[in-house]
Amino acid sequence: MPILNLKYRPHGRTLWALSWVVLALLFGCALTPWTPTSGPISAPHYTIDIPQDWLRLEGQPHLMLTKDGPFLQYVLIQARPLTRPFRYTGRKVAAHMLPSDAAQVILDEIGLDPTVNALEVLENHPALIDGREGFKLMYAYQNSDGLTLRTVYYGCIHQKHLFTLRYTAAQRYYFQKDRTDFNQMRASFKLQ
């Protein structure tokens, strides 16, 4: 199984990061952007425990992890400032929003992402993230090459950020393979 299958294409939000990864891999060991990671990670606004065998993308403001290559599966943890508008809708999540409204902003954004085809929302319900009220989405979609991917997307608003924990993987085989690891990560996630 190749580490990077260039035929596959993730959806917009991570495209820049993944492009950077591809470029970096082309340059080989000189940049080595992926480094093995496990155990606790402390970021400016949160802490999280990473299970064994994951690789972390270095040099990014967000935490991106993969095992078999980001085109097959990745975990993305972000603390997104509430002032930052989303790319396609131009909307922002506001501090006063209820979880259902914040989830709708995310779904509207995904729905307008031109790289997301045949979007099917499988779950949309409340969820607790480190004891705070948030939302959980699960959706399936096809990327531009027709590959079906599935995403679990948790989010909650805390202070001046929207915290999101996302796990995306090829629906066949990969999604189930590492879902337990993602659930462990989510359970260990602590806001600061």
């Binding site: 131009g90 209820l98 509207d108 949309n124 409340p126």
Partner: protein, 377 residues
């Protein structure tokens, strides 16, 4: 290049709509190629999830096109129209006679004659092969190779499948004015009121000036608008009095467009264009102040603005929607959310219970049940 195109369009002989009857099939290899590109682009758009589907509206548009086509020199021309869910004010026709109109533009029209002029305008672009002229011009403008041969590469503008790119060159100055002029003649021949029709341009001008219509490509359209309005008024003066007074009835226009207008308000809400959504909803509300869906949408717009004043307005509109249709679950849910967020959980509780009872299968119910659980002390 744009200036060159305008000059070329001016210089080329133009048979015009009022001229002798024309055939309408691709006449050359390059036109066949252009049609093939158009077919591909149209297919991509028709397969996309952007297509707005309303059989009643489609039947209405088809009747309108048939009416215009009978008055045109090419009654057999395969002109058809599709509606795209897009908030931008845009409409365009491909060289093969397939026309796309955005919901954003259709939603703002106020009279059937304006819609007829819009369609007639696009028909003239197709009849007069404006895109082919632009295509030839683009090819001619490209550098020849070392042997002096013209390039065989299709210009990028003609390879795009994104809406207006294929035909954009036809939308420039002289081509636009020509399409306005001949389109106006066409709708007069079809029995429409031209004075009501040219309100289309005043409407577009107002939208451009209000700043609600914001699009990178509107700059040129906006600058050309005064010339188009002036040219249409001049032409109107030359029409015989009976033509200026013989307008057909608006017919079912507003009734048929109502679902589209509501869909476009929802689309504006989705992409965060609250000002545009409010503008459209208020205009509809003037004519139909008791429509519960419209009251609910106005409530949603004000709730999203999230100021103390707007939240009061949101509550009033949700109440109005409930008063008008007591079985309508959405305003109960939305009103419950406003009260829940304000900490008025006793009020929210009743509203949430009602909306769950009215719409037990609504996708938002997982959240509502959760909020309801927080309302139990």
């Amino acid at each position: 290049m744009i200036t060159g195109l305008c000059l070329l369009v001016l210089m080329l002989p133009n048979p015009g709509v009022c001229g002798a009857a024309q055939s309408f099939i691709p006449e050359t290899q390059e036109e066949q190629r252009l049609w093939q590109l158009s077919t591909d682009a149209v297919g991509a758009l028709e397969r996309s999830n952007r297509l707005y589907q309303d059989p009643r509206l489609q039947a209405y548009l088809n009747r309108l096109i048939d009416n215009l086509r009978q008055s045109s020199p090419v009654p057999s021309m395969p002109f058809r129209v599709r509606v795209l869910l897009d908030h931008q004010l845009d409409g365009y026709a491909y060289p093969n006679g397939v026309c796309f109109i955005h919901t954003g533009l259709l939603a703002r029209l106020q009279h059937e004659a304006q819609l007829a002029l819009l369609l007639a305008h696009e028909m003239v672009h197709v009849f007069n092969r404006h895109a082919l002229i632009a295509y030839r011009h683009t090819l001619a403008g490209r550098q020849t190779d070392a042997a002096g041969n013209a390039p065989h590469v299709i210009p990028s503008a003609f390879r795009q499948t994104d809406g207006s790119r294929v035909a954009w060159m036809a939308y420039r100055d002289q081509a636009e004015l020509e399409a306005d002029r001949e389109g106006l003649n066409l709708i007069v021949a079809a029995g429409y009121d031209p004075a009501a029709a040219i309100g289309l341009f005043d409407l577009l001008k107002t939208e451009f000036e209000s700043g609600i219509a914001q699009h990178t490509e509107y700059g040129h359209a906006r600058s050309l608008m005064p010339r188009r309005i002036k040219a249409c008024h001049t032409l109107l003066e030359t029409l015989p009095t009976e033509a200026r007074l013989s307008g057909v009835e608006p017919g079912p226009f507003n009734t048929i467009l109502r679902p589209l207008r509501l869909a476009n308000i929802r689309l504006d809400l989705k992409v965060g264009r609250l000002e545009s959504a409010l503008h459209s909803a208020q205009r509809l509300h003037l004519h139909d102040p008791h429509d519960p869906i419209l009251c609910y949408l106005l409530g949603e717009i004000y709730r999203r603005q999230a100021t103390p004043d707007s939240l009061s307005k949101a509550k009033a509109f949700y109440r109005e929607a409930i008063d008008r249709d007591a079985d309508y679950a959405d305003p109960y849910r939305a009103l419950g959310l406003v009260h829940y967020r304000a900490g008025e959980k006793d009020v929210a509780k009743v509203l949430f219970q009602t909306c769950l009872a009215l719409a037990p299968q609504a996708p938002e119910n997982t959240y509502i049940r959760h909020y309801l659980s927080q309302c139990r002390f």
